[in-house]
Symmetry: C2
Subunit: 322 residues, 2 copies
């Protein structure tokens, strides 16, 4: 069995070995640029871990893992255009460096590259893999659409919010795991359990992100604590507060939303969160999804010993302070 | 055997029957909008004609035809953003109607939809079909990139220009035909001949477009005659003129490029074209590619009688005055 760190290295090497065409240089340079930015490669690692769980040769799952990682990076390129983001992992975003038109088109060709990778899978499982991949890709686009719409929308319910993060973030983790299971020849039920594992872990992870944005260790968090508060971002915390707060506190919240003094704003709104036990309530919601994830993994019929790496990775993801 | 008109109807019906999800409404409405704008549906018709050529059940080729048409429409949505185009077929473009971000994302999900369509093909030919489709999609993106670069580039050679239109326009016609042949179970050589037929016909068609933009019947052309001249567009005519013109005539051409009086500009530059026999020379180049197309179709080993509809369609395309 492989550790996540070993699989990360396998993925990095595989990415280095992708041969994009040399010309047109401006079409392919952005792909090399974003694909080599690094990151934890969590999605393709999950694909390989799922294959490894069923004792498959992980090399067989590499095309699926690369398809997932390429697709993920394609969404970063296009999302950064839509979000008007200047930086990604501390570096210029693709559209900042090459212009918006170039970023649209390089993103498009990344989607083609992802499909090319996927099509290298064995014929016998190709149709199932395509179905998983396309359903996943569709979900991610739907999630991004909802995310953009929610920014403009006055009222968003918590179920609507969870549905958005499910689509935007979690289905890709679920899809990554399911693809690995399919490559390994797991039966439909086992593949579905792994999908549920990835999906619910993804939701839990995103909810944890909302909590850490306010309550994370500023030393370890790596970005500004309270960034979501400053941006008036509709997170689980904010939506829960809106559900529970008195009319007077809602007025205070509203008044803070336009406060230009960011330190004051974060202090006041965090105070409201504390007064309504929001971090505890959000923690319960988060653990609810984490539990669902672990239940799904429990239900997978392979020897328990084979699940150790996945369990450890999930524990690690869910106990981070940053 | 089916006529192009019959197949057009088959395609229209199949497009009407595609079930896109209802939600998020703003993600899928643009897809319905652009897919129902009509047009000649030439690409999916070619896919079905290629399948019909080999006496295959054309219904089997519908997923491939829809994938091609959906991909084509996806490129229109994204190209219109890049070209800043307000209108398409006399109607608002998707980004004008729904905004740029929405248009990027709806385009992205169209690419997913195209892949979903394709994945419905029979398992036995799926891998070959994916290879054709992805190579085609990659080529189209490369062509769009070159087209954008050529706009900024002072010098473009005729071979570079032909390579650009080959990628941007012609590979999709070639790919459409090859997919039809693959669905029909044609062998590799026959599929390749049909690819060459579509590819060369596509190049000839685009070169004819360049000629008709200046020399087409204004009554029938449907757009402003001389539009390419007014926009200083690098067409085969302009590139040939730049190759052949004397230094003095090149200076005249240069002076006209900034002429704000469009009627005068079209008149003067058309005069230069005529002085250097550019329409005849461009016509020779165009027929050269048309001949290659017909040679490729000739080489396909099916009874000549089965080729009649394709020959007629190609004749029709190449003898238009508008």
């Amino acid at each position: 069995m492989y550790t996540p760190a070993q699989l990360q290295e396998v993925i990095e090497n595989a990415i280095q070995n992708i041969n994009y065409p040399a010309q047109p240089e401006k079409l392919y340079a952005p792909i090399r640029y974003i694909m080599s930015m690094g990151g934890k490669r969590i999605r393709p690692v999950l694909t390989l871990m799922a294959a490894d769980l069923f004792e498959a040769d992980i090399l067989k799952a590499i095309p699926a893992a690369l398809a997932i990682e390429t697709f993920h990076n394609f969404t970063l390129v296009h999302d950064d255009i839509m979000d008007n983001a200047p930086l990604r992992r501390g570096k210029q975003t693709v559209h900042e460096k090459w212009g918006i038109n170039n970023a649209i088109l390089s993103g498009d060709v990344m989607m083609v590259e992802a499909n090319k990778q996927l099509s290298m899978l064995h014929s016998a499982i190709l149709k199932d893999a395509l179905e998983t991949f396309n359903a996943t890709a569709r979900g991610v686009c739907e999630g991004q659409q909802l995310d953009m719409e929610f920014e403009q929308q006055a009222i968003v319910s918590i179920p609507e919010y969870i549905n958005m993060i499910r689509l935007k973030t979690a289905v890709l983790l679920g899809g990554a795991m399911k693809l690995g299971a399919q490559v390994a020849g797991a039966d439909h039920n086992e593949a579905e359990q792994l999908y549920q594992f990835g999906l619910n872990l993804g939701i839990a992870f995103q909810l944890q992100d909302d909590i850490l944005d306010v309550y994370g260790d500023p030393e370890k968090f790596g970005k500004q604590v309270g960034g979501d508060i400053i941006a008036n971002k509709k997170t689980l915390l904010l939506l829960k507060l809106k559900e529970l707060a008195s009319a007077e506190d809602l007025r205070k919240l509203e008044a803070q939303s336009t406060n230009k003094d960011h330190t004051e704003k974060v202090k006041h709104i965090t105070g409201l969160y504390n007064a309504y036990n929001i971090p505890e309530l959000a923690g319960i919601e988060m653990r609810n999804y984490a539990d669902k994830a672990f239940d799904a993994l429990n239900a997978v019929k392979v020897p328990e010993s084979r699940k150790s790496e996945l369990l450890e990775l999930a524990d690690l993801l869910m106990s981070r302070e940053h």
